[in-house]
């Protein structure tokens, strides 16, 4: 676990006059400038420093030197934003050559809510192109290095977010998760990652990959920070009709109350046998089983559960997600935004024009567009897209049955710790299988987290995966707090 400061500790330091938003922002920029991780694609220094200066002035003149935690729970907190989320007047590339020159004309609701709460956006974080990848090797802006092991990947697709938080280049970051893109890099980098329930946080301003799965979430140094960011970002947004009209609870209070008495007494924790299969690294398995034992020793009820369709998760995902992607990515037509290559100017037909523009896509993005187009094409639709949708429902039914008997489900986040750069780059199917344990919760729209619990013999982090029923973020965060405490 990273030993750098959490939001509450920073606010204490502001109150004590030890530092201020401007000094802190400058300190992060000097760290970012010296970092070799390639975590950021774009920095917005002028914008952030201006904001930090104002907040520093206001802290003294308007707030008597004390952080207004009630009205501005993220006052002066420098964050990193995954470059798939728009910010007005700032470049948003989605790590694609296609959007190399795209200056977004509006701000994503999630980012706006954080900034309204006082947060400072330092810049845009590197990622896999259009959030498609598990290793951050698919970025048009170069791969991101693992925070502590430079020959390893940080995980993907929110790899810049994972590394930036773990290497303390920002206090916390936003990631997005479609099949595990927050939880996998959180696990590989040794930080906390949270994917809230589908519909909790508005996707307005999130460049779409697979719209029935995409969800924004925080990547942080503590469970409490994850609770705080989620709490600030959640809620109905008129610009995203899939946002849920569900009460947003005081999750920070849940975490603090739990931390004061971190007992799993009475908690029913499900352990799915399908998540402890051959092929899991022995140290990963051991670390998760040890954590389960600790929970049991402290009074949790450990309940074996079955999620029988788990083995079909990757197959289902790589039909559903790519089908949605092939549709979502059709908008890059070189007319309204994005890069229009010279070759397109000499095109003889609209189709040729479109093809020349789409040459901007990287290899993995093209692979997924082809797969998705295939799955949706005449003659194959029923056997692929429709079939995958049916299996998806069965996967959701598996969870509903399991949650009749348990409060949360735990498993490893991934079968291995961070793998080497290049190790899986030539074998897309092997890369896809990295997400086998994170995909099912995404398919069912469930809230899920990665919490670091141990390190392997090489010092690489191992994350425990926790899954809760829809809109039960409170239960999820309570369990995550206990896991965090017993692992530290």
């Amino acid at each position: 676990m990273s030993n750098t400061k959490t939001i509450r500790e920073i606010h204490d330091a502001f109150d004590a006059g030890i530092t201020n938003p401007l000094a802190l922002t400058q300190a992060f920029y000097s760290k970012i400038d010296q970092s070799k991780h390639n975590a950021f694609i774009t920095l917005c220094k002028d914008r952030a420093l201006k904001q930090a200066e104002q907040l520093t002035q206001d802290l003294k003149s308007k707030h008597g030197g004390k952080v207004p935690r009630g009205t501005h729970p993220l006052y002066g907190i420098p964050l990193g934003i995954k470059d798939v989320l728009t910010m007005d007047g700032v470049r948003t590339t989605a790590a694609s050559k296609m959007l190399d020159n795209y200056i977004s004309p509006y701000t994503a609701t999630a980012v706006q809510k954080l900034e309204n709460a006082g947060a400072i956006s330092l810049g845009k974080l590197n990622m896999d192109e259009f959030a498609m990848g598990s290793s951050n090797e698919n970025s048009a802006y170069g791969n991101v290095l693992h925070p502590t092991h430079p020959d390893r990947v940080p995980g993907g697709s929110s790899g810049g977010s994972g590394t930036a938080v773990a290497a303390d280049l920002c206090v916390a970051a936003l990631g997005t998760d479609t099949g595990g893109s927050i939880r996998l890099p959180a696990s590989f980098c040794g930080i906390v990652g949270m994917k809230p329930t589908y519909g909790r946080i508005s996707r307005y301003g999130q460049i779409a990959f697979a719209s029935s799965l995409d969800q924004i979430g925080p990547m942080t140094k503590s469970v409490e920070d994850a609770a705080l960011l989620t709490q600030v970002m959640s809620g109905v947004d008129m610009y995203d009709s899939t946002t849920a009209d569900q009460p947003v609870e005081d999750w920070v209070k849940v975490v603090r109350d739990t931390a004061a008495n971190p007992s799993p007494q009475g908690m029913r924790i499900g352990v799915p046998k399908e998540y402890f299969i051959d092929g899991i690294d022995s140290e990963v398995r051991q670390a998760i089983e040890d954590t389960i034992e600790k929970l049991k020793a402290q009074g949790a009820e450990i309940v074996p559960v079955s999620l029988p369709h788990t083995e079909y998760a990757v197959a289902t995902y790589y039909v559903v997600a790519v089908s949605e992607a092939s549709s979502n990515l059709s908008r890059y037509d070189g007319v309204r935004f994005g890069v229009r290559p010279k070759a397109a100017m000499e095109a003889g037909s609209p189709a040729e024009f479109y093809k020349k523009v789409r040459a901007n896509f990287g290899a993995e993005v093209k692979r997924r567009i082809i797969l998705g187009t295939f799955a949706l094409s005449s003659g194959y639709y029923d056997a692929y897209y429709r079939k995958a949708g049916q299996v998806r429902r069965l996967m959701r039914n598996d969870f509903e049955a399991a949650f009749k008997n348990v409060d949360v489900i735990v498993s490893p986040v991934a079968p291995t710790t961070a793998f080497k750069i290049g190790e899986k780059a030539k074998n897309p199917l092997q890369m896809y299988l990295t997400d086998i344990f994170t995909i099912p919760a995404s398919m069912a729209g469930l809230p899920a987290m990665s919490v670091p619990v141990a390190k392997d013999h090489q010092g690489l982090s191992i994350g425990m995966h926790l899954i809760a029923p829809r809109f039960k973020e409170g239960v999820l965060l309570k369990a995550a707090t206990i896991v965090e405490r017993i692992s530290s």
Partner: protein, 100 residues
């Protein structure tokens, strides 16, 4: 089980409006072949009578009033939505003449 060959990749690439070189075609024959072979295991699952899950939410989606909301202009007084267009003419997008 579908056989993934050059012909299929070329056909789907055309449907996708993607131009592929020979090397890419060979690579996709292999990788997409592997992936679809893995996907084929879905045929083992009995899904009789199961309604496909297509959306991430069950509820009927809210509608908002059909009102014009001004999106604003940039520092030159031009509509902001045009600010990242490759080419603009007056208040519209400009494209090359490709239909004779």
């Amino acid at each position: 089980m579908i056989e993934v060959n050059e012909g299929l990749i070329r056909k789907v690439a055309e449907l996708s409006r993607l131009e592929l070189n020979e090397q890419e075609i060979q690579e996709y024959v292999k990788s997409i072949g592997d992936i679809l072979k893995h996907v084929d295991q879905l045929s083992q699952v009995n899904t009789d009578g199961i309604e496909p899950m297509v959306y991430g939410v069950d509820d009927t989606l809210r509608l908002r009033p059909d009102e014009v909301i001004e999106f604003g202009t940039d520092e030159h007084g031009k509509p902001k939505v045009l600010s990242s267009a490759p080419e603009v003419m007056d208040d519209g997008y400009k494209v090359p003449q490709i239909i004779g």
